[in-house]
C-alpha cells in the first residue's frame, strides 16, 4: 500500500534547505527538468531558489536584508520576508483548500519551475500529486491567517491535471492563461 518508495531524489530538489544556506550555494545541478508549458522567464516571486526558515530566531528581525545578497556571509532573512514552504497548505485565491506543497522542481540553473502539490483525497486516500507552474504561486511569508502559499488556479482547473511522476516529463499547470483562467488541462473535463 505504500508506493511512495519510488520517490527517489533524482531530478527534484527538495525545497527547504533548513536555515541560512548562502543562496549562491543553493543551486541545483540536476539537469533535464522542463516545465513544459512554462514561459521561460518565470519570475520567482520573492524567495529565489530556496526557502529559508528564519522564524525560529525571532531575534533576527532584519526586515531590510536583501535576500539576493552576494556575499558569502550567512544570510539573514526577517520573519516577514521568508518562510519554509515544504508541507504547507496551498489555497486558491478564493480560499479553497488546494492541498499541500510537497516538492519543488528546479531547472539546471536552480530556478524553481514548478511546485508539486498533493491535491485532494481523504485521510491520505485518493490524493493526486500535481505539478503547477511556479509562476502561478504567490507567497505571503508568515501570513497571519496562515495562507502562506496561494495559487491562481481553481480546484476545477487542477483536478484533472496529469499526475506528477518521478522520471517522466513534468507537465505543470498554469501560466499560459492568467486572469480568466481556462488553461484547459487534458481532455477529461467532463462531469461536474
Amino acid at each position: 500500500m505504500h508506493g511512495h518508495s519510488r520517490w527517489a531524489a533524482a531530478l527534484v530538489a527538495a525545497a527547504v534547505i533548513v536555515a541560512m544556506a548562502p543562496p549562491a550555494s543553493a543551486r541545483s545541478r540536476h539537469r533535464g527538468h522542463r516545465a513544459n508549458r512554462a514561459n521561460p522567464a518565470t519570475q520567482p516571486a520573492q524567495v529565489p531558489s530556496s526557502g529559508m526558515r528564519s522564524n525560529d530566531e525571532s531575534s533576527r528581525k532584519m526586515s531590510e536584508v536583501a535576500n539576493t545578497g552576494k556575499a558569502g556571509w550567512p544570510l539573514a532573512l526577517g520573519v516577514n520576508d521568508a518562510e519554509a514552504i515544504l508541507g504547507k497548505n496551498v489555497h486558491s485565491s478564493t480560499g479553497e483548500d488546494m492541498g499541500r506543497l510537497v516538492d519543488v522542481v528546479v531547472d539546471i540553473d536552480g530556478r524553481p519551475r514548478a511546485a508539486i502539490i498533493d491535491f485532494g483525497g481523504f485521510l491520505g486516500v485518493g490524493s493526486r500529486k500535481i505539478a503547477v507552474d511556479w509562476s502561478v504561486l504567490k507567497f505571503a511569508p508568515n501570513d497571519p491567517k496562515g495562507n502562506v502559499i496561494s495559487v491562481t488556479l481553481t480546484r476545477d482547473q487542477v483536478k484533472a491535471a496529469p499526475e506528477f511522476k518521478e522520471g517522466s516529463p513534468v507537465v505543470a499547470l498554469g501560466a499560459s492563461a492568467s486572469p480568466p483562467p481556462a488553461p484547459a488541462a487534458p481532455p477529461q473535463a467532463q462531469e461536474k
Binding site: 505504500h2 483525497g121 485521510l123 491520505g124 486516500v125 485518493g126 490524493s127 483536478k159 467532463q190 462531469e191
Partner: protein, 454 residues
Amino acid sequence: MTLSIAPQRPGGPAPDDGDDERAAAPDRSLPAVIPAGEPPPHPSRASLRGLDWFVFFVANVQTGFGPFISVYLTSSAWTQVDIGIVLSIGSLVALLGQMPGGAIVDAVPSERLVAAISVALIGASALMFAVWPIYIAVLGASVLHAAASCVLGPAMAAISLGLVGHGGMSERLGRNARFAAIGNGIAAAAMGACGYWLSNRAVFVVTAVLMMPALVALAFIRPGEIDPERAHGGQPEQPPQRPLSSLWQPGRLRPLLIFSASFMLFQLANSAMLPLMGSVLTMRSSRWASVLIAACIVVPQLLVAAISPWVGRRAQLVGRRPLLLLGFAALPIRGVLFAVIHDPNVLVIAQLLDGVSGAVFGVLVPLVVADVTRRTGHFNLALGITGTAIGVGASLSTTLAGYVSDHAGSETAFIVLAAVAAAGLACIWTLMPETRPDDERPAREESPPATAGA
C-alpha cells in the same frame, strides 16, 4: 503501561455473570480424543462485552495508522522520499512479523497479557508520532507499531477462540467483525473531522488516548475464561514428535495453503482498488471528491457492521464455501463496475460491494484457519501464515495498479484487478474444500451438501 491488566475491574457492567469457574476448567480434564465435541464453554457476559469493546477500540486505534501517516508527515515538512522509506520499512516489518507474531501468541500462556502489551506499544508509537515527528522517532514508532500489530491480530483471535471455543467461533467472529467495522468507520469519520478542525497532530494524540479504553475493555475479559489450550486451537491428541508436525499434515496444510493463496489474490486485487478509485474521484469531481472518498471508506464499514453477524451464522449453517464464494465474487464485480461507471455518485454505491467482501474477509479468515488447525496447537501460527500471504498481496497491489494505470489508464487497471480477483474466485471454487467440521453441521440438516452452495 500495562498496569491496567489487573484481573478484575470492580463494578463491571454485568452485575452477575455467574459461571466463570465452570467454564474454564472442564475441557482440559477430558480426554482429548473426543474430537471437537467438548462441552461448549460458557464465557461470562462481562468477558464477551469486554471483547466487543476491545475489538472496537483497537479498530479505532489502528485506523489512525493508515495512509493518514503520510498526510501527517507531509504536513510536518517531511520529504516524500523519507516518508516512502519509513512506510516501506513499516510494511516490511508488518509482513515479516506475521508468522513470528502468531508463534508468540501460540506459545504464551496469557493471550490477554500479550494483547495488553501490544496495545500499549501501539499507543506509545502513536504518541511518538504525535510529539516527535523526527526521522529516527518516526522510524522507530512505525517499526514498533508494525511489530505490535503482528502480535495483536492473532492475540485477539486467540482470545476469541479461547473464550468461546470452536463451536461458538463463527458467531463470535461475526460479532468481532461488526465491532471492528463500527470502530473503523467511526474512527475514520472522527479523524477526518479532527484533522480538518484541529490539526493532523491531534489525530495521533486521539489515537494514543484511545489506547486507554481499549485496555479497560480488555480488563473486563476474565483471564480464567480464556483457556490457553483452546486459544491455540486445542492440543494434538498425542504429543507431536517434531515441532509443527501437527500442522504439517497434508490434510491441514493443503487447505491452509489454498486458502492463503486465494486471499493473496484477493488482496492483490482489493488493496489498490479504493485508493485508485479515490484518485479517479479526485480527478472527476472537484468539490465533493473528499466527501465522496470519505463515504467510500465509511459506508462499506456500516454494511460490514450490518451483515457480518449474519455471515457468521450462515457460515455455521451452510458452510464456509458458499460465503467465501460470495465474498470473492463481489470483488471482480466491483472492479468491473469501477471500470465502466463514470458517475461519481454511482461509484460510491458500487463501493458497497466492498462491504460484502469485507464482512466475508473479516469473519472467514480466522474461522477457516481455526477449522483447519483444530487440535494442532498452532492456530495463531497458521493465522500468521495466512496473514503473510495477505500482506504480500496487499503490498504488491498498489505497485500493480499504479503500473497499469500509468501505462494504460485507470479503467484498464480496474479490469486487471478484477481479473486477479476472478482468479482468486476460481481458486476458491475449484480447489478449496469445505472446512466446516462435520460435528458443527446443524442437526436438522440431513444431506451433506458440503460444496453444493456454489
